[in-house]
Amino acid sequence: MKTTESALGKSVLRREGAAKLRGDAQFIDDLPRDGAWFAGTVRAKVPHARLLGVRRDERFDWDRVVLITAADIPGENVVPVVLRDQPSLAEDFIRYHGQPVALVAAPDQETLALALESISVLTSPLPPVFDIDESLEAKTIIFGEDNVFRTVEINKGDATAALQTADVVIEGEHHTGAQEHAYLEPQGMQAEWTGDGITIRGSMQCPYYLVKAVAELLDLPQEKILVIPHLTGGAFGGKDDFPTMLGGHAALLAWKTRKTVRLIYERGEDMRFTSKRHPARIRHRTGFTHDGQLVGMQVEMVLNGGAYGTMSPLVISRAAIHAAGPYQCDNIHISARVVATNHPPSGAFRGFGAPQALFAVDAHLDYCASQLGVDPLELRRKNLIRRNGTQATGQNVGDDASAGEVLERALQESDFVARREAYAEFNREAESRRGADRFPRRGIGLSLFMHGTGLSGYEEVFFHSGVALHGNADGSITALTSQVEVGQGTRTIVAQLAAEGLGIPVEYVLTEQPDTNQHPDSGPMASRTATIIGGLLITAGKRFRAEVERRQGSLLPDPLVFRATVAKLVAGGERLEVREHYSPPPEMRWDEEKHQGDAYPAYTWSCCVAALEVDTLTGEVAVLDVTAVQDVGKVVNPMFAAGQVQGGVAQGLGWALLENVVWKNGVMQNANLADYSIPTAMDLPPIRAVFLEHPQHRAPHGAKGLGELPMEGPAPAVVNALRSALGIHFRRVPVTPEIILPAWEARNLE
C-alpha cells in the first residue's frame, strides 16, 4: 500500500501555464464578439468643475446607440468601496480629468466612435487642487470638511518627551511617486443581460465586490448578479477596486440595451484614468542616544488619495502600522493622513501603503547612521525587533521575529561587508584613473523591512473568507475558493494546499476560475492566499478525509482507495461537501479606533541588498545585483515563490529608478508604455531569492504571505546604495538620472 507524498514545498507546474506559453490563453478581449455591442466612456475634460450637463450633437442619429447618464441609473449612483463617496457617473461635480460622465453602447466600433465624438460635457470650472500641501490648506474643498479621507494615529509611550531628552534628534523628509500597475491586459468587462439579471465576465481580482456594487446600482437582488472572473494577466491591486466601477458601467449598459456589452479600455485610457499607487510625503523626527540607541520616533505621513476615497482608508491603516519599520522603539508617534486632490483616485497597489512607509523609514535610518557616525549595519543590529519585541501598535511579535536573522543571512549571502570595502576602494581610486574609467562609482546598500500577513486589524474578521471542497463522481475533489488566478499561480497553490489537507496527490484536486454563484467569498489580496486561505483549505481537507473515512468505516491511507471510495459514495447519491470559514485566532486583540493591538496574525521579514554602479557623467544607474532574503514561513511552491521575488524586485526597481508618472493639470502625460518606462528583462540584474522557513503557528501549514513583500525592498536599498556610491542622500523615488547628475555636480563644487 502506498501513501501520498506531500506536495507542499514542491515546484508543481502551473495549471494554466501551458496554455499561456502556447498563446492559447483567452483574455477578456479574446471572447467571441458575436452580437456583442461595443461600449465607451464619455469623460470630463477638466480636473475640477461643476457639471452642467451633456450636449448631444443632433446631427448624429442617437437612435443608433444607447446613452446612459447619472439620471438613468435605477439604483444608487455609487461605487461602493469604503466611503461611498464616488458616483458611478458624475452627477453634480467633476473631481478629476477623465471622470466618467456618460456611457455609450453601439452595435459596432465605428458607430461608437462617431457617437463619442458627437457628445460634449458642459462644465463650469472650479480651482483644482493637485498636491498634498494645497489639499491640506483646504482653501478648496473636494472631500468632507478638510479634504482628509482618513487620519490614523498610533501612539506608543511618549514620543514627544523622548525626543526632548534624546542625545541626538535627526529629521528627514522623503517623497515617493505614483506608479502604474502595468498589468498585462488593460481593464475590461463584458456584461450580458440574462432576462432577469446580469452576468459579468472580466479582468478582476475581487468578484464579490462587484456583485454587491451592481446589485445596488441596478436595484436588483444580489442573486440576480453572477460574476465570473476571466483569466487575468496580472493585477497588482489594479484589478482590486477599479473593476467595481468598470463592471458597474458594463452592467448598466447591458441592463439598458438588454444585450451583451463589451467595455474594454485601450492602454492609454487605462493608464490615464485608472488608479495608481498613492504618492506620499513622509517626515521623520528620530531621537537616539549618542551610541545609536533609538529612543523616540515621530512619523508624519500624508498620502495623495486623488479624487475619491476608494481603498484609501485601508491603505492609510497599513501605511501607518508599517511606518516605524522593523525597529524596536518604546516611544513612537505616527500620524498618517490620506487627502483628496483632483487627480484620478489612487487605489490598491501591491504593498498597499507599506512600500511608501518602509522606504522612508529605512532610507531615513541609513541616513541617521551617517549623521551619527555609526555603521548602518550596527545601527540596525542595535535597534531591530527581536523575540518578544513590540512594534508600533504594541503587538508583541513573540517568536515571529526574524529581522536579525534575515539581516545576517543577507550580509553573508551578498558578501556585503567585503564588497562595501572593495567599492569604497574603487571609488577612492576613481579620480586617479584615466579616460572613461574615471566616471563610474559603485555602492552597495540594504533595506530591512517586514510586511503584515493578511488584512489589517479587524478587516480580516469582517471579511468572511470561506472555502469549500466537494467530491466528484470520478473520485476527484474540487476545491472552491474565490482566489482568482491573476498570474500568481493561485489555482496551483490552492490544489497543493487542499491536497495537503486531504492527504491525496495534487492531481486529484480540481480547481476552477471561480464564479460568485458557486464559490465562497475569499478574495485574493493582501498576500493572504497561501496563509489565510491555505489554512482553511488544509482544515477543510482534513475534515473531508475524516468524513469519508467515517462513512466508509475505516481509515483510507492509500490514495487510490480513497479516490475510489469518494467515487463510490458520490455515485451512491451521497453529497460530500465540506465548508470552512475564517475566524481570527481567539487570542488576537485589536482596537481599530486607537490602532492598538495585534495588527496581523504574522509578519514576513526581509532584507534586500542592492549593489549598483553610477555613471557620474550621465547620472545613469546600473543595478549590478540584488539579493533578497525573506522569512515567509513554509514555502508552498518554491518556483512560484522565487518568481514572486523576481517580479517584486523588478517592480520595486522600476518604482525606485524608472517609473515616473508625469502629471499636467491632473492628467498623466506619459500614458503609454513607450514614454512610461517599466524595467524590461535587459534592465534587471541577477536577483537571488533566499528563503528562511520559520513556520508561523497561526496557520496549520506554517505559511505566511509573500505576494507584496518583495516589491518593498529595492527602493530603500537603492537609495542607501546610492549614498554608499556617491555620498549623497536622495530623498525621493523615482531617483532618475536628472536628479542624480545635478546632485553629484553640486557636491563636487562644494
Binding site: R434, G435, A436, L617, T618, E620, L658, V662, Q669, N670, A674, D675, S677, P679, T680, M682, D683, T736, P737, E738, L741
Partner: protein, 290 residues
C-alpha cells in the same frame, strides 16, 4: 483606423506611378512598424498603402570594399546587422540597427523607413549623416540624390516631392584607418526612444595618433537630426586623445537646440550631447585602431 486599399507593386516604375496617381493619399509601407501604428492611432491617414517590399532594388544589401554600401530602403535592421561586412565597415549603422525597437521590430523595421518617418529622435539618422550617406530617390521625372543631412525638413516631414520614392541609401567606400560609432541615452536598456543620440565617424592617419577628418551628427536635440559642422571641422588634424574628444563635445553642444519635454530637459540634453560625442569619438578611434 479608417479603411484603406493595399497594393504591392514589383517595380520602381509601378510604385512611382501609383504614388503619383494617388498623390497625397498614398502611404508607403516598408517594415510597417511606424506607419501601421500611426494609421491605427489616427496620426496619419491613408487612402492606399503601397507595400514596397516586393521591389528588388528596395531589398538590396550590397557591401563592396571599392564601391561602398548600397542599402535598399526596405531592408530590415536584422539583415543589416546580420551582415559581417557591414558590421566591420559601417559600425555606426549597425550600432543603430541593433537598438531600434526589440528583436521582433528589428526583423521588420527598415533604415529607409526610419529615415522617411523623419523623427527628430530616429536612431539611424545621426549614424547615416556621420557616415555621409546619400539617399537615392526615384520620381515621375527620374532619379535624384539627396544627402541624408538634408533629407529631414521638420518633425515627421522629409524632402521627398509628390510621387517620389526612397529607393536606397548609398554609403561611400570604407576609408583606411577609419571607423564610426552610434550611441544614445535612454532611461532603460532597450526598447526606448533616444533622449539624445550621437553618431561619429572619423579617419586617423597611418600612425593612428592624429584625426584626419571627422563627422559628428546629433539626434533628438533639434526639429531634425543635425550635422555638427563646427565640431566635425575642428577635429581635423587634432590628436586622438580624451581631451580632444571632450573639446569636440563642447563644440557639438553648440549645434544642439533641444526642447524640454517629459523625456528630458533641454539642459540635460545639451549635457548629454557633450558626453555622447566624447564617447562615440573614443569608441570610433578604438575601432579604427583595432
Amino acid at each position: 483606423m479608417k479603411p484603406f486599399d493595399y497594393t504591392a507593386p514589383s517595380t520602381i516604375a509601378d510604385a512611382v506611378s501609383l504614388l503619383s496617381q494617388h498623390n497625397g493619399e498614398a502611404r508607403v509601407l516598408a517594415g510597417g512598424t511606424d506607419i501601421l501604428v500611426q494609421l491605427r492611432e489616427g496620426l496619419r491617414e491613408a487612402g492606399i498603402v503601397i507595400d514596397v517590399k516586393k521591389i528588388a532594388e528596395l531589398r538590396a544589401l550590397d557591401c563592396c570594399s571599392t564601391s561602398g554600401l548600397t542599402l535598399g530602403a526596405s531592408t530590415p535592421c536584422a539583415e543589416i546587422y546580420g551582415n559581417a561586412d557591414v558590421c566591420n565597415a559601417y559600425p555606426a549603422l549597425t550600432d543603430a540597427a541593433r537598438i531600434i525597437g526589440g528583436w521582433q521590430i528589428q526583423s521588420r523595421a527598415s533604415i529607409g523607413g526610419n529615415l522617411c518617418n523623419a523623427s527628430p529622435a530616429a536612431d539611424s539618422i545621426p549614424a547615416l549623416i556621420a557616415l555621409n550617406a546619400v539617399a537615392l530617390v526615384a520620381g515621375p521625372s527620374g532619379q535624384r540624390e539627396i544627402p541624408v543631412a538634408d533629407f529631414c525638413t521638420a518633425p515627421g516631414r522629409n524632402a521627398l516631392a509628390a510621387g517620389e520614392l526612397l529607393v536606397c541609401l548609398q554609403f561611400p567606400a570604407p576609408s583606411a584607418n577609419a571607423s564610426s560609432a552610434y550611441q544614445r541615452f535612454i532611461p532603460r536598456n532597450e526598447m526606448d526612444i533616444a533622449v539624445v543620440g550621437v553618431g561619429s565617424w572619423l579617419q586617423l592617419d597611418e600612425s593612428g595618433q592624429t584625426i584626419l577628418s571627422a563627422r559628428v551628427a546629433l539626434g533628438a536635440v533639434a526639429p531634425t537630426p543635425v550635422f555638427a559642422a563646427e565640431a566635425s571641422d575642428w577635429l581635423a588634424g587634432k590628436p586622438a586623445t580624451e581631451d580632444t574628444y571632450r573639446q569636440a563635445g563642447e563644440l557639438a553642444r553648440k549645434a544642439a537646440s533641444p526642447i524640454s519635454d517629459m523625456r528630458g530637459t533641454a539642459e540635460y540634453r545639451v549635457h548629454l550631447v557633450g558626453v555622447l560625442t566624447q564617447r562615440t569619438l573614443a569608441k570610433a578611434v578604438q575601432r579604427a585602431a583595432g
